[in-house]
């Protein structure tokens, strides 16, 4: 190897450097002031959450990185990530965290913040629309199957209006309206 090898471009690092000017220092407070965020700052980056996650190996941002990104203030990257929506909500990360960080619950809160900014995957929004339009996620189609088993043909006790009237006045209603 010669010593005259020319160096061009920024130095090689293991990960891309973070652009500090784009950080939002308020983001960590937004999350930690929500009911599930009390333990957020106790995270000591051990990555146990990632080791417990069954799908982290195919993510660009793994659970411990997402938590670190929240602490650093990488608001846009977290809220526009596909990872928060692909999270299985299996709570394996949260169960194993030695610092009691409510990792899965925090990702739920991130999804709410993303939704507030209008970022919701199409098929998830479609489920919201089903709830507003039909008042339930699944409808009985084969009522004869129920009758064969001596069950009432309709879903017993289900009030469709119960959920419809509530969701029309909360964020779901707004998201569904904006999506139309």
């Amino acid at each position: 190897m010669t010593e005259t090898e020319e160096k061009t471009g920024p130095p090689v690092t293991l990960i891309d450097p973070i652009d500090m000017t784009k950080l939002d220092p308020k983001f960590r407070n937004d999350i930690s002031s929500m009911p599930n965020g009390e333990e957020l700052s106790a995270c000591f980056a051990c990555s146990t959450c990632t080791a417990a996650c069954p799908i982290a190996n195919q993510w660009d941002y793994m659970p411990h990185q997402l938590i670190r990104m929240i602490l650093l203030g990488m608001r846009d990257e977290v809220l526009s990530s596909k990872e928060i929506w692909e999270c299985l909500t299996c709570f394996q990360c949260q169960e194993r965290c030695p610092q009691k960080v409510r990792v899965t619950d925090i990702f739920f809160d991130c999804k709410n913040l993303a939704a507030e900014e209008g970022h919701v995957p199409e098929n998830v929004l479609a489920l919201g629309k089903t709830l507003v339009d039909k008042g339930q996620l699944y409808e009985v189609i084969n009522d004869w199957e129920r009758e064969d088993l001596d069950l009432e043909p309709e879903v017993p006790g289900l009030s469709i209006e119960g959920i419809q009237s509530i969701l029309k006045s909360t964020r779901t209603g707004k998201l569904v309206e904006d999506g139309e």
Binding site: P35, Q94, L127, V155, P156, L158, S159, I163
Partner: protein, 288 residues
């Protein structure tokens, strides 16, 4: 006779009436009085919590407040409904600010959330209130030790501080039928159902990993206590032939179906023919 408020949700009645029927048959035999809750709404699923936590809290707080009027605990056969209702109960019991906001809204509907009742999975109610010894007494056709893998479902077990459901409960319930519980490495892993709307390939891979882990460990059947998990593990087996070239032939039974058979009930009563991977081979494993 213990009395309960039964919350069905929308998935079991629409997709798994066989689960509903078997649950009723077994509960009746065990002397449990299940009353359908009236005028309650769909729980919304974790998807509703993702986009609209306040709406999700309010919908489920409303259901709990309705049930509080009768004073009986809520029981449900669906892990999704259980997870939502139990999580909302836990949340509102621990976060007084949110409770205040929710009660302002509930008051407009003539309701109030007090947190005076519990939310329980039907299996835990059978286990705790009836007890394994009583259940065993009613088993007249025990299974012959056939290997059954339990898929608990994420929202039944976690987070434990919310769900308060220990895996041993379901293990002992399966033991009581005479079957052998098969340990397998991926017992805690998600079935993949929740990610179906955003990444179907990932959902299929998760179901496949789970089925493979069960099969490799020697399971002959699978038991579940949730319509979404049941649907995922049952239905995906049909597609895995094409996508992975793998055949699992692992019948998926809702737990009350297994218990009902072991109690001597017949396959029609529990809608065994509705299970997609043919589940009738389990009849060959009944003795007595």
């Amino acid at each position: 006779m213990p009395v309960y408020s039964l919350y069905m949700g929308c998935s079991v009645p629409a997709n798994y009436p066989n689960y509903e029927a078997a649950m009723f048959k077994v509960a009746e035999a065990l002397g449990m009085n299940l009353n359908y809750l009236e005028d309650v709404a769909c729980c919304g699923s974790p998807n509703l919590r993702s986009i609209d936590t306040f709406g999700w809290l309010l919908v489920n707080a409303r259901t709990i407040a309705i049930a509080e009027k009768s004073g009986h605990d809520i029981v449900t056969p669906c892990n999704g409904c259980f997870g939502s209702l139990k999580d909302v109960l836990h949340h509102l019991t621990h976060h007084k600010d949110d409770l205040k906001k929710i009660n302002v809204e509930l008051k407009k509907m003539g309701l109030e959330f007090k947190g005076s009742i519990n939310v329980r999975h039907i299996i835990e109610a059978m286990y705790t209130d009836i007890g394994i010894e009583e259940i065993k007494k009613r088993v007249t056709k025990p299974l012959d030790g056939v290997g059954i893998a339990i898929h608990y479902g994420c929202h039944l077990l976690r987070p434990l501080d919310v769900t308060e459901f220990r895996p041993e409960i379901l293990q002992e319930m399966v033991d009581a039928t005479g079957a052998t519980v098969i340990d397998y490495p991926l017992w805690k892993q998600c079935c993949g159902a929740t990610v179906l709307p955003v990444n179907e390939q990932l959902a299929i891979r998760l179901a496949r990993d789970k089925l493979k882990s069960m099969k490799d460990a020697g399971a002959v059947f699978i038991t579940v206590v949730c319509p979404a998990c049941g649907n995922q593990l049952d239905l995906q087996q049909l597609g895995l032939k094409d996508s992975y070239g793998e055949v699992y032939d692992l019948p998926v039974l809702l737990y009350p179906q297994i218990l009902a058979l072991a109690m001597g009930m017949n396959e029609e009563e529990i809608g065994l023919s509705m299970n997609r991977v043919p589940a009738d081979p389990i009849l060959d494993h009944l003795s007595g």
